[in-house]
């Protein structure tokens, strides 16, 4: 038989998390610090609105770009949080999670051979999606000493005459790093100078613990060259509802809506009704969850300091990214031994790019009790590792 497959997808590396998944599934009593989703349930009033929409028989397709009412709420929300306005009729697309928005944006913007700059460590989907869109990923290895922020020098050095798009993802998964206004201003200058575009994945925008998140789209000259991606998964604890959105200039959005129309039709209707409620009446829920994450973040950092584990202070998302280089093993080796010996699952930094080597992603989207238990085991584990090292 002929080869049924497309070479590009065959050559895409499977997610680095897969291997751990298989080990963990054999270990029913393992506890985890490995999730990338909130531990909260979706607020009840939001779930209730979804249920209500089903009761009323709202079970049809919506318009391709999403319910107008939802796009209007998205527009109002961004205006309220960022002070810029997107036209609900032409500049907003409701998608199946931020995930779809990333994929569609890349596919609509890249021509074969055009380069996409991807600062790593980062979320796992940008690189494969860029490849599938015929783009060429150009990786920037972000540095621990810069608190994993992107610097204008790093960006400048990665730009060629083929560069089309920069993927900017702050607050960041897996590092928890943020980019503040001054950091963004410095890179915006480079972006404008070289006339490139930005896909800004702001899915963790509400989980920022050092002042409010600033979107790069709000800087002068940037709105017309930025696709802002956000969604409901993290801020409203709605991962399973699969709902996100993209906002940006009409010229790009028009094509994204077209592709979305052919590939997806529309985002799930029930989720869209629930999301309207989330945006209308969910600000307090978001604030309460943010406060709770922030408390756990402080707790985790404190415990890491007590353990003498090197860790920069992350100000966003719900991850910390401690450095384990002192133990002289790779992130993978550490994570596997930790899992086998103490039955705690953490994600090796390398799952998010080579520059994650020497780091672990630890999620604090867990109850305090769970965190305490896991950190107790971690302390025991690294004490043992240090003793081993002293003996040798």
């Amino acid at each position: 038989m002929r080869n049924p497959l497309n070479d590009k997808i065959v050559n895409v590396k499977p997610s680095g998390i897969r291997k751990f998944f298989d080990i963990v599934s054999e270990m029913p009593d393992a506890i985890s610090l490995g999730v990338g989703e909130p531990d909260f349930d979706t607020p009840w009033h939001v779930r209730d609105e979804g249920i209500f929409s089903l009761e009323k028989g709202k079970t049809f397709y919506t318009s391709n770009a999403g319910l107008m009412g939802l796009r209007q709420e998205i527009s109002a929300y961004i205006n309220r949080r960022q002070g810029i306005t997107y036209d609900p009729a032409k500049e907003i697309l409701v998608t199946v999670g931020g995930s779809e928005a990333i994929d569609v944006a890349l596919r609509c913007m890249l021509n074969p051979g055009e380069e996409v700059i991807i600062p790593q460590p980062c979320y796992v989907s940008y690189e494969p999606c860029a490849v599938m869109a015929d783009g060429v990923p150009v990786i920037i290895d972000l540095k621990h000493e810069n608190d994993f922020r992107l610097t204008p020098e790093e960006l400048e050095a990665a730009i060629t005459d083929k560069t089309k798009v920069l993927v900017l993802a702050f607050p960041n998964n897996p590092t928890g790093a943020i980019m503040e206004r001054k950091d963004l201003e410095a890179i915006a200058e480079v972006i404008i100078k070289h006339d490139i575009y930005v896909i800004s994945d702001e899915i963790y925008s509400e989980l920022s613990y050092h002042g409010d998140h600033v979107s790069i789209a709000t800087l002068p000259g940037m709105k017309e060259r930025t696709i802002m991606i956000n969604g409901f998964s993290k801020s409203y604890a709605m991962t399973g509802w699969r709902l996100g959105y993209a906002c940006g200039p009409e010229v790009i959005l028009k094509q994204m809506i077209k592709l979305h129309q052919f590939a997806i039709m529309c985002a799930p209707t029930t989720s869209q009704y629930a999301a309207i409620e989330a945006l209308r009446n969910g600000d307090e829920d978001v604030a309460a969850m943010r406060e709770s994450y922030n408390e756990r973040r402080r707790y985790l950092l404190h415990v890491f300091r007590e353990m003498g584990l090197e860790c920069f202070e992350p100000f966003g998302a719900f991850y910390v990214f401690p450095c384990i280089k002192e133990f002289g093993m790779t992130s993978d080796e550490f994570a596997i031994r930790f899992l086998e010996e103490e039955k705690v699952a953490v994600v090796p930094g390398t799952a998010f790019g080579d520059s994650g080597e020497g780091f672990l992603r630890i999620s604090y989207a867990y109850s305090l009790d769970n965190l305490k238990e896991a950190l107790g085991r971690m302390k025991r584990f690294i004490t043992r590792l240090r003793e081993e090292k002293d003996k040798n």
Partner: protein, 160 residues
């Protein structure tokens, strides 16, 4: 800081104060002092344990009693409320708006004990016009805590 402390200890009064201070990004001594001050000011009135007696072998009956009373000149409802809340078997007494005046919650060993309290003690007070007793059959949720189910973490152990 007060609001956060109260919000947290309202759910978990046994939280380690050192941990609480770390979580709030404050010094332990400041948190301890703040709590002491709130105890003194009567903002923090006690530290109780939420018990689902249903799951023990100990018999308990709880009831809500609606009480209509005649307010007294110069005293309003305070005097009658006090006469009711002084009974140790009374859990709570609220003055409320609507069709009746006081909502009394009560715990006893048996239906009989509760009924006796209502007929002998409560109804016989001068100012009490009428009572309506509702026995609690099942507690689903109490003090913000769902008693009927345990929430398991059903998330995948690893997600990117």
């Amino acid at each position: 800081m007060r609001e956060r402390i109260l919000t947290i200890i309202e759910k978990d009064s046994r939280i380690d104060l050192k941990e609480l201070a770390v979580m709030l990004g404050k010094e332990e001594i400041d948190v301890v002092n703040e709590i002491a001050a709130m105890e003194k000011e009567g903002i923090i009135c006690g530290y109780h344990t939420l018990i689902d007696w249903e799951k023990t072998s100990i018999e308990k009956v709880s009831a809500l009693i609606e009480v209509r009373v005649t307010p007294q000149r110069g005293q309003g409802f305070d005097n009658i409320a006090e006469r009711i809340y002084n009974y140790p078997e009374v859990n709570s007494v609220y003055l409320i708006s609507g069709a009746y005046d006081l909502l009394v919650t009560l715990e006893g060993k048996s239906l009989k004990e509760v009924s006796n309290f209502v007929s002998d003690k409560l109804s016989t007070l001068d100012t009490v016009l009428s009572t309506a007793t509702h026995f609690i059959l099942k507690k689903y949720k109490d003090h913000g805590t769902v008693l009927t189910q345990k929430n398991l973490d059903e998330r995948l152990k690893f997600t990117p």
